[in-house]
Symmetry: C2
Subunit: 271 residues, 2 copies
């Protein structure tokens, strides 16, 4: 069994109630990664709504979780013929840490019109690794193989001159990278929310290293990933007032868009 | 009192329970607009979480609503010192139509770093009206004054040649417009979710006229709008499999980004 499957597995212990265990393997410092926590909650949703695919999944992060046992409670909001909407609550010691609202359904409705205005970012094979970005590498970095685009490597130069000079060298707060699980696990629908939150926040290209906690993360699941690398771009366009959005596109090796993500996160406040 | 305030007003009738009335004034065909319905649910959230501003608000649309009485039930998920997360359920005849998950807090944390990678779309003063887009105008169109950009008017030409030829004429499925309430009501935080869903779906630039029901809408509230017009751009980049995303930016007349929106919607399916 692969690391991700072990670490997000949950066991039903009653109607809509699941037990799981948050491991340290997906930590950033002492704190489990938000995409991983969401993947644990989604494991319960997937059991509850078996046969349907996640479409839109939103998670609000209420309190920092920590490695250790957790409980996930699932409530069906609406069960239709084709679509189901449900809530998942992830708790530790009876405190709710995540509230998830998700709609599941058919991933492909066979829609006739198509309009594709975009393409996966070009990243040379065998690109640079995460280490070359000039950031400290958290535990979670060991879970992935990453190839970063040369443009993203400008981060390292800009960061050496922070604060102040950074903005002059960087034209977009963006990270482009090819990513896959280090242990060979294929990407699938269940792991897209993890990949949506697995790379360093692109806003770190334009501000000093700081904690950038997620308030809310939404992932639109658009297609089942083909085997191989995922090609991702994450970008922050608006950092002000102590908040920032981070938009992501995740493409598979067949050149298909498999997910769009957006999160609202907090930057350091001056008061 | 302005139309929007009358039509979204709710009255507390018990702890966390509110009564309201959905009017026909925001209809698209026989169906109330999704942004308006969300604004009604938010009216209850605003009363419950008085003193805090909406930050991230996600709504899942479960069933079509109709004009008439409604009930909104609010549940506090977490009440912290600075932030509060809550759920709102909008019901008609005991059926839940909307499930909303929202985090409220301070709109400006006084964050020091700033990074603005974008600008309001340029739209000439006194631009064309909605009528010139070549679409039927729903009732809700009477609630707004709209000035559409000349580029968006290419829609009308493309639509005349649909299906098939459209994609050749159109380079992005985008609508850019200046918008304000027709009755002079100033835009505020409470109305941003309405503006995020008030214009015709930009995907109609590249597909024949059809119902494009929203599954999920998320609005990030980033600043209090200054008085005057809102300048908006909405774009769909990925229409396939019977789904599409629609991303929006809403700017105020002072040139400040006031909201980002994203929705997942359904396009006509071939099966």
């Amino acid at each position: 069994m692969f690391e991700f499957d072990v670490d997000r597995s949950v066991t039903a212990e009653g109607p809509g109630v699941y037990r799981g265990k948050i491991t340290e393997r997906w930590n950033i410092g002492p704190v489990p990664n938000g995409g991983y926590l969401l993947a644990v909650a989604m494991a319960a949703l997937e059991q509850e709504l078996a046969g349907l695919s996640p479409l839109s999944v939103t998670c609000h992060y209420l309190r920092r979780a920590q490695p250790g046992p957790c409980r996930v409670e699932v409530e069906r909001v609406k069960q239709g013929r084709t679509y189901a909407t449900a809530v998942a609550r992830l708790l530790q010691n009876d405190n709710e840490h995540l509230r998830v609202l998700a709609t599941f359904g058919p991933l492909d409705r066979g829609g006739a019109p198509e309009w594709i205005d975009g393409a996966p970012p070009a990243i040379p094979e065998g690109g640079a690794g995460m280490r070359e970005l000039g950031l400290p590498l958290p535990t979670i970095a060991q879970r992935f193989e990453v190839q970063v685009s040369p443009e993203t490597l400008q981060w390292a130069r800009a960061r050496a001159e922070m604060p102040g000079a950074a903005a002059a060298k960087i034209t977009s707060a963006e990270i482009r990278a090819r990513v896959r699980f280090a242990d060979g696990r294929p990407a699938d629908l269940s792991s897209l929310c993890l990949f949506a939150d697995a790379l360093p926040p692109p806003v770190l290209a334009v501000m000093p290293l700081a904690w950038v906690p997620t308030l809310e993360l939404t992932v639109h699941h658009r297609a089942q990933p083909a085997p191989g690398w995922l090609t991702c771009v994450f970008r922050t366009r608006f950092l002000f007032g102590g908040y920032l959005e981070e938009d992501g596109e995740i493409w598979d090796e067949a050149g298909k868009l498999v997910a769009l993500s957006r999160q609202l996160a907090m930057a350091p406040a001056s008061r």
